[in-house]
């Protein structure tokens, strides 16, 4: 008998591990529309199954907690049950010996708070008021684009129809093909099998293959109603497009030289080239929208005049001002704001960064845009961020892209002071190294490390810590604000201000383009209704029947990029297109949740809005 042996994995252990992995996939695709009480109960059951059985709170307590939650779920509980649940969970949290027990109870306590109305509804009324499952990708898309519909059209070799169908809900298919953050992919049911469908990749494929751009529906008869849109970005142009199709007379007032808003002035062309952006804008303009460029509604009075002249007004000015960094010498020569720099590039004025040392402060998508643009302008780029790289809010692909193109990542470095020479010219950035620490508001927060600050050399510093909104004039005109955000309702309206609507970044603060488009769509519907109409946007395209092959695990096709050496010196597209072969395979992976599952019964395809 040997004294020691190496651990081996039994087939049973391997299968158990596979079950856990499958559970992770299942969780990744968890339908948001589940009964909260049942989820809490099932979660407790799973945690209980992990108990080793040594200690009372976890061995017995989690089981009893589950019994109580089951009673609520089944409508057999009373208000008193909730108190017992709370006491039990609190006791387990405070008394369990190891994390298997106390973490489980902590989560139950948390869900008890968050789901209180649901728990009470089960007890008092005996039904579950949680929303029902629909088509996951469509539900997750803020603009509710008919994703299974257009994927089916791609699979049916009909890319032009696919793009036409997208335009029913989103007039920026080309722009979104490149830069949408694709929340649609998050809860793709395909995650249950392997990985989500590459929805953005397919969109990019079909806009590339489409032979023409067509309106999603014929223009309706003129109504004679006049609508003003302040701001020609994605939100404003979306509203303008649909209102024109509904027969209204729309005029867009754009402060800058070109239309497109942040799509032009915030997103560099290597991510979204100007021809592609213009393609969407051209079709929007073809609908008959009148545009005044270089036209700033610059005061409360100007706004009032506009409001009086038009039957309805939509404010979609975005978030184009920069947030200042409050450190010494932040206004020195050589310090730029990200919005300022990208705006210049958007108007075609490329700054001279050749062989300059550039430090970008920030960890969001805009910081990555600035960093990667600087690389293309010939700079040596460092990204200084006060948290860890994994804490950055930028999409991982953007961060990876920046690093791949040669940006240096200086994580856990908090800017302390801009270092200047006698001419107030930047020479460096003094940063305080940080240590990552406990979670605050769901994110680990950094604190100053017990080491002295260091100075990083710099010729240029670009501050990218967020954008603000130029909304003072609207408050002067009586519209409510929260900080600098216009305080519009979810219907894009303001109480007591009939005929004034607002949406997009100027209401939400800096957010994704698809959210801005969604706001534009909501505004279009509600403005139409406000004007006394019920025009329906509808695209007459028969959606192909689902393919009937078995859905067996199959790798997800990813979008390829141009080689780094090739792309990092120009502002041309970084991304390549899927091939026909790749796109058709990817489209065939779609599980068609519009046909299979609950959507066949309810919460299915919305053909009109």
């Amino acid at each position: 008998m040997s004294r020691l042996s190496l651990d081996t994995t039994t087939a049973a252990e391997q299968t158990a591990s596979a079950l856990y992995q499958s559970l992770q996939l299942r969780m990744a695709a968890a339908p948001t529309a589940s009964c909260p009480v049942e989820i809490a109960s099932a979660y407790t059951h799973l945690c209980h199954s992990q108990s080793c059985g040594k200690c009372v709170p976890c061995r017995i307590g989690l089981g009893q907690l589950e019994n109580l939650l089951e009673a609520v779920k089944k409508g057999e509980a009373t208000e008193a049950t909730l108190d017992v649940i709370e006491r039990t969970a609190r006791s387990i949290k405070n008394s369990a010996d190891c994390a298997i027990g106390y973490q489980a109870a902590a989560e139950v306590l948390r869900s008890l708070v968050a789901f209180r109305p649901d728990f009470e509804n089960h007890i008092q009324k005996g039904f579950c008021s949680a929303p029902r499952q629909g088509i996951p990708c469509v539900q997750e898309c803020p603009a509710h684009v008919d994703i299974p519909g257009y994927i089916a059209l791609i699979a049916d070799h009909r890319p032009t129809d696919a793009v036409k169908l997208i335009r029913k809900d989103n007039p920026f298919p080309t722009a979104c093909a490149f830069i949408c953050e694709h929340p649609c992919e998050n809860q793709c049911r395909r995650n249950l099998i392997d990985r989500s469908i590459n929805i953005r990749g397919l969109k990019s494929y079909c806009v590339d293959k489409a032979t023409e751009d067509i309106f999603p529906m014929d223009k309706m008869a003129p109504t004679g109603k006049k609508v003003a849109i302040i701001g020609g970005g994605p939100s404003g142009l979306t509203t303008a497009f649909y209102l024109e199709l509904m027969g209204h007379d729309v005029t867009v007032f754009e402060k800058r030289k070109h239309l497109g808003g942040m799509l032009r002035y915030g997103i560099p062309s290597y991510r979204l080239n100007r021809d592609n952006l213009q393609r969407d804008i051209n079709l929007i303009l073809d609908s008959g929208v009148e545009v005044h460029r270089d036209y700033d509604i610059d005061s409360a009075e100007a706004f009032e005049n506009l409001k009086n002249e038009f039957d309805a007004t939509y404010i979609a000015i975005g978030a184009h001002s920069h947030k200042a960094l409050k450190i010494a010498h932040a206004d020195a020569r050589g310090v730029l704001s990200a919005v300022e720099m990208l705006r210049g590039i958007g108007d075609g004025n490329l700054p001279d960064f050749k062989d300059k040392k550039v430090i970008v402060i920030g960890g969001g998508n805009v910081a990555m845009d600035v960093a990667r643009s600087s690389i293309r302008l010939g700079a040596d780029v460092t990204i200084a961020y006060r948290r860890r790289q994994e804490d950055m809010t930028a999409l991982p692909a953007e961060v990876e892209g920046a690093i791949a193109e040669g940006c240096h990542m200086d994580e856990l470095m908090a800017p302390a002071e801009v270092v200047v020479d006698e001419n107030d010219q930047v020479t460096g950035l003094k940063v305080q190294p940080q240590v990552i620490g406990p979670y605050r508001k769901g994110r680990p927060s950094p604190r100053a490390a017990d080491v002295p600050p260091v100075v990083l050399d710099a010729d240029i510093i670009v501050i990218s810590i967020g954008q603000s909104i130029d909304s003072q004039k609207f408050e002067d005109a009586g519209l409510p604000r929260q900080w600098d955000q216009l305080d519009a309702t979810a219907e894009t309206t303001f109480e007591g201000h009939n005929g004034v609507f607002s949406g997009g970044n100027c209401v939400t603060g800096p957010a994704t383009v698809i959210k801005a488009i969604a706001a534009g769509k909501v505004a279009a519907a509600n403005i139409d209704e406000y004007l006394g109409y019920d025009h329906k946007v509808e695209t007459h395209i028969e959606i192909p029947e689902p393919l009937l092959h078995d859905r067996v695990p199959c790798g997800r096709v990813e979008i390829k990029e141009r080689p780094i050496g090739d792309r990092k010196d120009d502002f041309d597209d970084v991304e390549l297109k899927l091939s026909d072969e790749e796109a058709l395979q990817e489209a065939s992976r779609c599980l068609r949740c519009d046909h299979f599952g609950y959507a066949a019964f309810r919460e299915g395809r919305q053909r009109t809005w």
Partner: protein, 573 residues
Amino acid sequence: MVKITMDRQEMDVPAGTTILDAAENHGIHIPTLCYYAHLNEIGSCRMCLVEMQGKDQLVTACNTKVSEGMRLATNTPAVREARQTNLELILSQHRVDCTSCVRGDNCSLQDLANNMGVTSQDYEKELAAQKWDMAFPLIRDNSKCIKCMRCVQVCDKIQQLHVWDVLHPGSESDIGVRENLPISEVNCSLCGQCVTHCPVGALSERDDVPRMMAALADPDVTTVVQIAPSIRAAWGEDFGMTPKEGTVKRLASVLRHIGFDYIFDTSFSADLTIMEEASEFLHFMGDRPDDNLPLFTSCCPGWVRFAKTEYPELLGHLSTSKSPQQMFGAVTKTWYAEKMGLKPDQIFSVSIMPCIAKKSEADMPSMTREDGTPDVDLVLTTRELDRMIKSEYLDPRSFPESELDDPLGVASGAGVIFGSTGGVMEAALRSAYYFVNDKNTDADTFKAARGQDGCREVDTEINGIPIRGIAVNGLGNARHLIEDLKAGRRQCDFVEVMACPGGCVGGGGQPIHDGEEWAARRAPTLYNLDERNTIRFSHENPSIKEVYKEYFGTPLSEKAEAVLHTHHSAAER
């Protein structure tokens, strides 16, 4: 056309056909349970699974369309196993109480279990109970519900009242009244379409047969029964009789045998309704309200309940004439009682109706006499009638036909077509024409009112005045029309609404043929009776002449207003 192979049989099938239809058209029968054509094609029960070559997973025949080269097999070991397992799973949540179930002899679930030879079960029973107000005319037994979703769909899509809902997602998934509210508190019209669309015994009408039998057994009461027009087109179906065999005259003999004292016809009081409503309409045309909205019929209690919850502002536009059932009840306990020398409380007045809402109509306080007794004491649906006959062990075929009793058993053809969508409007126009012109037009002048479409328009003129009538059936269609009328998108003078698709012939109290709509095949029976009737105008019915001569004088007289008219109040349902 696409070429497919099913069970080794090659078929050319039109593109767009489902596997189920393709099979049916080629003599291959695939079992279904939740499926209801054009209404519920959601593939939830998994009974219609078939095997497709090249695919491991089975596919549902009901909502999968054929495609070129498809090779299908409908009876393989995998198919049989999956169907049988799923059937047993359904049965594990179904209270199998077939011997004492109202659908014991007409249940699709039972048929499937019998056909598939399910004689034992491997699964634990999980029966979910729900409380129910057993006094309500519509009864739901949750422990029998198989969650096929048909009731939800018919109430959502056809009637658009959204009474039924899925109360829970997940493991507690359950059907019930929206938000788990008491059924009497929601806007249920009592149309009963959920009952006729239920494949099992989860939904039914309140069983009033025991009360009926008690009344028959009481020697001190005189039982008077009225038979609604549409009953004659349907009552025999449960006995396998054709419309020619299952006549109202044969039913009269059966009812006499059971012990009813007087057998009358609701078509008589339909004629009476026409006298009042047509007169009311002519008044209405002469003194049109400013809103330009039309006069609506009020003979369908499902529609009236709908109007009370959904469009209370329209109640002033509903005809104040009572429905034929209630006119009959009122006349029976006034004129007829006097004529027969009976006290009203000695009469037990029964109606046989294709309808569940009629039960609640008869129970309304406004339909009750001053002495507290109702004008109509009891309402039986066609299904209850048939159950009553069965419980007496009678073979209706062996009964000869016999005449209904005088005078309330005499009806015109106009009164008979009341049982079909468009019939009320057609009958009313026939008499309105006469009232204005003092002469009859051809009885078929207004036949544009006939048909099964959800909404039909009749443009005509009486004495040079153009009149547009619209007949609408199905409450979703009614809602659509009302919205159009209110928005000024459509205009008309008169609207006939029947809550059930096809009208009373498709009523929620009629015999159930699972998965099939029978309104269109029952309606011709009524139109044939009208055509063969020597009296085709309500105003020519001799009994109608008699009742006006002896009792009411003229339509809309003070007495007629008191006995034959009502006030619609949203507070009373």
